[in-house]
């Protein structure tokens, strides 16, 4: 019995040593030379050094394919279509690529190694995403755990985006964090402000980016951001608008409302904002100013906590308040930003009232 166990152990150790040796050899000895990446049938052609992963090569060339995990293969966001040169489909891609996607040559770009010339396809809008160098121009506390951060753009000095989209903030190495990462945040500034962008960032316990923003970032610091990303923006129709948010989910709506005020858009708009208590409410003065400027706009904060002395506004869960104060959903669009639980519950309330899902746009905290 002991001999069998010893044999198994020896075989296991030899296997592990060989695996490590192969990995080291591939990393430090193998020379793949240069490879050409043809993107979208010649729309762009890159010549890169082989051996690295496709996601890293694209980002290095200024093509910002979305990724939430920094290339660890654990978020599944960096999918792209590879019709030539992608090599065999890997077990690490299995969980993220459906059978249908696999038959359409979809791959996880962070897992695909560049070993030869490749032909790939990515959404055209990724070409519009740029990297910006900026400088923090102001930081202010909105609540105990939410900060407003404004960044003046330096190079390029101007940005074009649709209000409601998001950007990715690059977090440099700091403290024990020895690897740069990036995280996505909604822009809270309106699209007419082209030299400066603003974010509303809530502290997340143990969060690498939010800890950096809340405890390390200072006015005057240089920062790197890329974007714009996403399709959460106000549709150009005459429909009534329902906005629903909680916490830092207010961010895109601040920009949208400032934009509406500037453009004189008078669509009837109810903005429901859910919070537990009065300490979690912010921008109340700004919302009051916007209500004065826009007669068809109403800000409806609602508190769900029981202990709110002096509060004479709406109370209860935001879903109940939306249900109670929305008599009909005829010619209506809904825009939602917040936690997945809140968004899912609000979608149920709105669809029950008859609003079809194609009129509900949302940005989940995911």
């Amino acid at each position: 019995m002991i001999e069998v166990l010893v044999s198994m152990g020896v075989v296991g150790v030899i296997g592990a040593v060989l695996a490590v040796a192969l990995e080291l050899a591939d990393r430090y000895i193998a020379n793949y030379g240069e490879a050409t990446i043809d993107i979208n049938d010649g729309a762009k052609e890159l010549t890169v050094e082989g051996g690295g992963n496709l996601l890293g090569a694209l980002v290095a060339e200024g093509i910002f394919v979305p990724s939430a995990c920094g290339g660890r293969g654990s978020c599944g966001y960096c999918k792209c279509r590879i019709t030539e040169g992608g090599g065999p489909f890997l077990p690490t891609e299995q969980s993220w690529i459906t059978t249908e996607e696999k038959s359409n040559d979809m791959r996880l770009s962070c897992q695909v190694k560049i070993r030869e010339d490749m032909r790939i396809y990515i959404p055209e809008e990724l070409f519009l995403i740029k990297e910006y160098q900026g400088m923090v121009s102001s930081i202010r506390d909105l609540t105990g755990d939410i900060k407003e951060v404004r960044i003046k753009l330096v190079e390029p000095a101007e940005i074009e985006f649709q209000t409601g989209q998001y950007m990715q903030l690059t977090v440099p190495e700091y403290g024990d964090v020895d690897e740069s990462v990036y995280r996505a945040y909604s822009l809270s500034s309106p699209e007419y402000e082209r030299n400066e962008v603003e974010f509303i960032i809530r502290y997340v316990p143990e969060g690498i980016c939010t800890t950096w923003v809340h405890q390390y970032l200072k006015v005057g610091d240089e920062v790197t951001i890329n974007g714009p990303h996403g399709d959460f923006y106000l549709r150009d129709t005459d429909a009534k608008i329902i906005m629903i948010a909680g916490g830092s989910g207010l961010a895109p709506f601040k920009g949208m409302l400032l934009n509406m005020a500037k453009q004189g858009i008078t669509r009837p708009t109810n903005f429901f904002f859910g919070a537990v208590n009065q300490d979690n409410l912010y921008y109340r003065d700004l919302m009051a100013e916007l209500e004065e400027k826009m007669p068809n706009f109403k800000f409806i904060p609602a508190l769900s906590g029981e202990d709110n002395p002096g509060w004479d506004g709406e109370t209860g869960l935001i879903t109940d308040v939306v249900d109670r104060l929305t008599p009909d959903v005829d010619n209506t669009e809904a825009y939602l930003c917040g936690s997945p639980g809140m968004i899912d519950a609000c979608i149920k309330v709105l669809t029950k009232k008859g609003l079809t899902e194609d009129k509900i746009y949302y940005d989940k905290f995911s």
């Binding site: 654990s74 299995q94 800890t211 869960l317 639980g341 995911s366």
Partner: protein, 155 residues
């Protein structure tokens, strides 16, 4: 437990600044295999599997989802506050999957004792029997979890 290459990779990612700013070991000086051995032994002494503990953490925690951050009373036994944060975090073990940065605070109304844990904590306890190192943000001793969730020993 032996420090396999898989555990070594997980251990590296658990260090401060890996995938969480303060890491998963807290001030605990035990290495990952020792922590796992100790956590598994603690569960055996309590007569409860770590899967059963994680299932109750998930069931009670998720029952608090409907409060959107406000306290919710669950089964007349627990007060639950759920804080859903932006972003997802991967498990340190090398397998696919990311977990919403949701934080649950559960207070036993009878004893007044409370625990705080994340969606990732639930996964790491359920799938790996790992309760994190003492002093880390979401460390909970198995005995405290069994007490707060009033989990009875298995037959």
């Amino acid at each position: 437990m032996k420090l396999t290459p898989e555990l070594q990779k997980a251990s590296d990612k658990m260090k401060p600044g890996g995938i969480a700013r303060e890491g998963f070991f807290g001030h605990d000086e035990r290495d990952l295999p020792t922590l796992l051995d100790d956590h598994h032994a603690a569960c055996r002494r309590l007569g409860v599997s770590w899967e059963a503990i994680a299932k109750e953490m998930r069931r009670v925690g998720r029952a608090g989802d409907e409060g959107f951050g406000a306290p919710v009373i669950v089964d007349d036994k627990w007060e639950v506050i759920v804080d859903e944060n932006r972003g997802k975090i991967p498990c340190p073990w090398p397998h696919p999957g990311v977990y919403q940065k949701t934080v649950y605070t559960v207070k036993n109304l009878r004893s007044g004792k409370s625990v705080r844990y994340s969606e990732l904590s639930i996964h790491m306890i359920y799938a790996h029997g790992f309760f994190q190192g003492a002093g880390s943000s979401f460390y909970n001793d198995p005995a405290v979890l069994v007490d707060v969730f009033e989990i009875q020993p298995e037959e």
